[in-house]
């Protein structure tokens, strides 16, 4: 029997606008004292009315454009009616019939994943369960969310992960959200079932399951993989196929590494959507859409192509394009140069020394500390500098802003290429290492040891290549 997983993803991205979706309250809610960022609107008090956040709407369109969506010139909000204690108004303002963005796509290694929509909505409050009580915190109530709904085009957990990575990268690139799954600013709900082709050619679909509470990327993968296996096993034991009423909602238990049944018969949920009478329809003219498109930065895919044209490896290009700060820094350091050698040099420093330094100090890259001239200066003298010295210099430039060439001079980091001085060292090395000289005569590769000794007595200041040349000349 051939089995193919069918996976769709609903992703919620919390926008990092200053204020909430429908009121002026501060949208920050992570580690904020409960119910301090609230007002009549986000508390859903009687008589309060929503005013849509212009920036949030534009960002939703911006994301839509980044995902290749069509932007609806006229859209409107709708009410989704349901009861939940932390849903202040008894309905959520969202978009159903006419969302801002529809019909986009993401290319995952050549496999096109269709995106049904990227629509605008508001977050709910938070229920906090303590000692048998449920407390309500409305700081999150009304925080802007964009929901990105994929078509069920993904066929593996691995592909789902790549899709999420890519989506996260785009969202961060265009600067509309931190998209941090652990902090909840990006949330993912996979819907999974399996297409099974029996040996006699019969095609069966297992019942749909929507998985909630997945709080990490690994969790998403594990949950999908678990669910695929569970559904195949389940079908083999009960032979129940998908129908219009047997969709279930399952929770993800990360500790037990398994999903569990939360709600059955999801097909019957009725949210009684209708157009939100408190908000007039919203229009984006072609010109406005074009203006928003102009604000889109170059996206990771385009960056990678560009970097590869500079002869960078897939690995280097991918790593630099991974986040917008790094690619920005790379391009800043590179300046107008199109020299592949300089590009490789710069990429190595950023992906190597700088990245290691950031990891060690647990800091984020600071684009202001990148001095393009310093990169060029170091590059121009790289033949006189050891790789260790180069790393040291770029870190000095990054941390203290000091001119690397002056620093190198003051700290004797330039390698000695002066043959006179080096000959002196070489003679010493030959005299004090007769055994090694013997070895060299038998095997020219043993020169390495002598070069090492030369470096040692010159305290590292010797240019190893010049030193090697002189040693070989003297031993001829």
């Amino acid at each position: 029997m051939k089995t193919t997983p069918i996976i769709g993803l609903e992703v919620h991205v919390e926008l990092k606008t200053k204020s909430k979706m429908f009121c002026g309250c501060d949208a920050a809610h992570f580690h904020v004292e409960a119910n301090t960022h609230t007002c009549p609107v986000c508390l859903g008090l009687p008589g309060a009315l929503p005013i849509p956040n212009k920036t949030a709407c534009e960002w939703c369109v911006k994301l839509g454009l980044a995902l290749g969506c069509t932007i609806n010139e006229e859209s409107f909000f709708e009410r989704k009616n349901y009861f939940y204690p932390d849903l202040a108004k008894g309905y959520q303002i969202t978009q159903l019939q006419k969302p801002f963005s529809i019909n986009g796509k993401l290319d995952i290694d050549g496999h096109i994943i269709r995106i049904n929509r990227a629509h605008m909505e508001e977050d709910t409050g938070k229920s906090v369960h303590i000692d048998g009580f449920t407390l309500l915190d409305f700081n999150r109530s009304g925080v802007p969310l964009v929901e990105i709904v994929s078509e069920p085009d993904l066929i593996s957990a691995e592909e789902a992960k790549k899709y999420l990575n890519k989506l996260q990268q785009i969202v961060r690139y265009i600067g509309i959200s931190d998209a941090d799954i652990e902090k909840g600013s990006m949330r993912c709900e996979p819907t999974v079932n399996v297409k099974m082709e029996t040996d006699d050619g019969q095609i069966i679909y297992t019942p749909l399951a929507e998985i909630k509470n997945v709080a990490s990327l690994t969790g998403v993968m594990n949950a999908i993989n678990y669910e695929i296996k569970r559904q195949i096993d389940q079908y083999q034991s009960d032979s129940i196929a998908k129908n219009s009423t047997n969709k279930t909602t399952r929770g993800w238990d990360a500790d037990k590494n398994q999903t569990f049944l939360q709600r059955e018969k999801e097909g019957s949920a009725d949210y009684r959507y209708f157009p939100e009478p408190d908000i007039p329809p919203i229009t984006f003219s072609k010109e406005q859409i074009e203006e928003i498109r102009q604000t889109l930065p170059e996206l990771p895919e385009a960056k990678i192509t560009k970097y590869k044209a500079l002869k960078l490896s897939d690995y280097d290009a991918g790593l630099l394009a991974e986040d917008s700060a790094f690619s920005f820094v790379f391009e800043k350091a590179l300046g107008s140069s199109t020299d592949p050698e300089f590009a490789k040099f710069t990429a190595n420093l950023l992906n190597g020394a700088i990245r290691t330094h950031l990891n060690e100090t647990q800091t984020e890259i600071d684009i202001n500390k990148i001095n393009a001239t310093h990169f060029q200066e170091i590059f121009s003298k790289k033949s006189e500098l050891s790789s260790t010295a180069i790393k040291q210099l770029i870190l000095e430039s990054y941390n203290s802003g000091i001119n690397p060439l002056i620093f190198a001079k003051d700290n004797n980091l330039f390698q000695i290429s002066d043959t006179g001085a080096l000959e002196q060292y070489a003679k010493e090395v030959i005299e004090s290492n007769p055994k090694a000289v013997e070895d060299y005569r038998k095997n020219p590769l043993a020169i390495g040891f002598l070069v090492g000794q030369l470096m040692k007595i010159s305290c590292g200041s010797a240019n190893p290549q010049t030193g090697k040349d002189i040693l070989e000349k003297l031993l001829k």
Binding site: P46, G47, N81, K89, G90, R272, D278, P280
Partner: protein, 478 residues
């Protein structure tokens, strides 16, 4: 909140200050004939003596109002003037119930924009007026605090839902008042109580802080003793509000210059606004008004092709129930003190019907179709206003009905409001002004409707009519 039992002694035996209009009150205050305290006291005394009978008020502010009066700045447009506010306007520090026990103890944390503006203009809230619970009705009989009664005849209803405000004005319990209309709730009680009710264009007055009923047509507006008083209030209440996305993006409305006559004005008289069931005295009074308007120079044209208002009943019912079912969801028992069992029969009926009409499989047949018919109604008005500048007609097919008339009639309100529903659905401005009395002395109201944002014309016609008639000078004997 207690009613003040000991009236303060007044100078010059000016015990009838409560009878004054806004204009007269302002003149009296300015010329120091009396003080704001005396004016407020006079209204409180009046409330004290008649409200047990009428039940116009749910809450009375008493001493607080007097304290405010002491510090009032009479140079403000409404400085020192007592105002009665319909109990669906949120007022800080003063409970707001919408006449439902669900909100029996609810004290709002913020003022409605309209309240804020009225207070800033110096008005002194003397109480919150009774209404149909959640504004569901046209009689005040669905109020959880008992019905208000018609000051002209306490065996009759005041109309609704702003029945408390209309009764309070008719009974001189206050100088000015505000109500709100979703489909008739300002004009119909004003008609039944013989006062002036001015329903502005949808979005002219902010809805922010007014407990939502049918959000897409809710229109707050004044109920007063004269056209000018109502117009002054509308000037103060109107204007764009950053808290209401549906508010018209215009500066506050101001009264236009008065016309000497109605020369050149074409007024339409839809024949279908005189249905078979219409009370003959109502018809006669409105036709008499037509003659008056003609004498003033207007050309009155009979409109024979106006969309029958009966269609509005169905449209309004579906849309209103749908929005109500959603708007009342927030009163879920988690907050506000009382749970959903405190909802009265009428609210429960509306929530159920609205929930049904929005449900999957019914949405297209009900909600969506109703929206389409709404568009047709709007288009019909557009067409009519190609032919005429304004439309007039009776506000209600009858004068005030007897107490208990609404009982067992779940569509009572819709039928009573049939003649004001089409213009409400289309978001048009309109006014109800007194134009006569029936044989038992109950008032009859004339409505004047214009295209959106043409309150200027509503005002000019109404004011000229009022200046040339004396119906508005009649007061009930209490």
């Amino acid at each position: 909140m207690a009613i003040l039992k000991q009236p303060l002694p007044l100078k010059n035996k000016m015990t009838d200050l409560f009878k004054l209009t806004l204009k007269e009150s302002k003149e009296g205050l300015k010329s120091k004939k009396f003080t704001a305290v005396e004016l407020v006291q006079s209204c409180l005394d009046r409330i004290n003596s008649v409200d047990k009978k009428l039940n116009s008020f749910v809450t009375i502010t008493g001493e607080n109002a007097l304290k405010e009066a002491e510090n009032s700045d009479i140079s403000l447009p409404l400085g020192g003037i007592p105002i009665a506010i319909k109990d669906n306007y949120l007022t800080v520090g003063l409970r707001t119930t919408a006449s439902s026990k669900v909100l029996d103890q609810y004290i709002a944390q913020y003022n409605a924009t309209a309240v804020e503006k009225l207070k800033k203009a110096g008005a002194i809230i003397i109480g919150k007026t009774n209404m149909d619970a959640w504004a569901h009705g046209s009689s005040t009989e669905t109020s959880d605090y008992g019905p208000s009664l018609n000051p002209w005849n306490t065996g009759h209803l005041p109309g609704g839902s702003s029945g408390g405000s209309a009764a309070a004005i008719a009974a001189d319990e206050t100088i000015i008042s505000v109500g709100s209309e979703t489909a008739g709730s300002i004009r119909q009680p004003s008609s039944w109580c013989g006062v002036v009710g001015f329903k502005p264009t949808y979005g002219r007055v902010s809805r922010y802080g007014i407990i939502a009923m049918k959000s897409s047509t809710d229109s707050p507006g004044p109920i007063c003793k004269t056209v000018d008083d109502a117009a002054v209030l509308l000037e103060i209440m109107s204007g764009n509000d950053v808290h209401d996305a549906t508010s018209i993006n215009e500066k506050p409305w101001i009264r236009p210059e008065m016309k000497k006559n109605l020369n050149g004005i074409k007024i339409g008289l839809p024949s279908c606004y005189f249905p078979k069931e219409i009370q003959s005295e109502v018809k006669a009074a409105v036709l008499m008004a037509v003659e008056t308007l003609k004498k003033l120079g207007a050309e009155v044209i009979e409109l024979t092709d106006v969309l029958d208002p009966k269609y509005s009943i169905a449209v309004y019912t579906i849309l209103q129930r749908s929005e109500v079912s959603s708007n009342l969801a927030r009163f879920d028992g988690v907050r506000y003190g009382h749970d959903r069992s405190y909802f009265g029969q009428e609210a429960k009926r509306r929530i159920m019907l609205g929930t049904y009409s929005l449900s999957a499989g019914y949405y297209d047949a009900y909600y969506l179709k109703a929206q389409k018919v709404r568009t047709l109604i709007c288009q019909d008005f557009d067409n009519q206003f190609q032919k005429v500048d304004a439309i007039i007609g009776p506000v209600s097919p009858t004068t005030a009905l007897k107490l208990g008339a609404a009982e067992g009639q779940s569509m009572f309100g819709e039928i009573q409001d049939m003649l004001v529903e089409p213009s409400s659905i289309a978001g048009l401005p309109g006014i109800s002004i007194p134009c006569g009395f029936d044989k038992i002395g109950l008032p009859i109201g004339l409505q004047i409707i214009t295209p959106q944002r043409r309150e200027d014309l509503v005002y000019q016609i109404a004011k000229l009519f009022e200046d040339n008639t004396e119906y508005h000078l009649q007061r009930p004997k209490l």
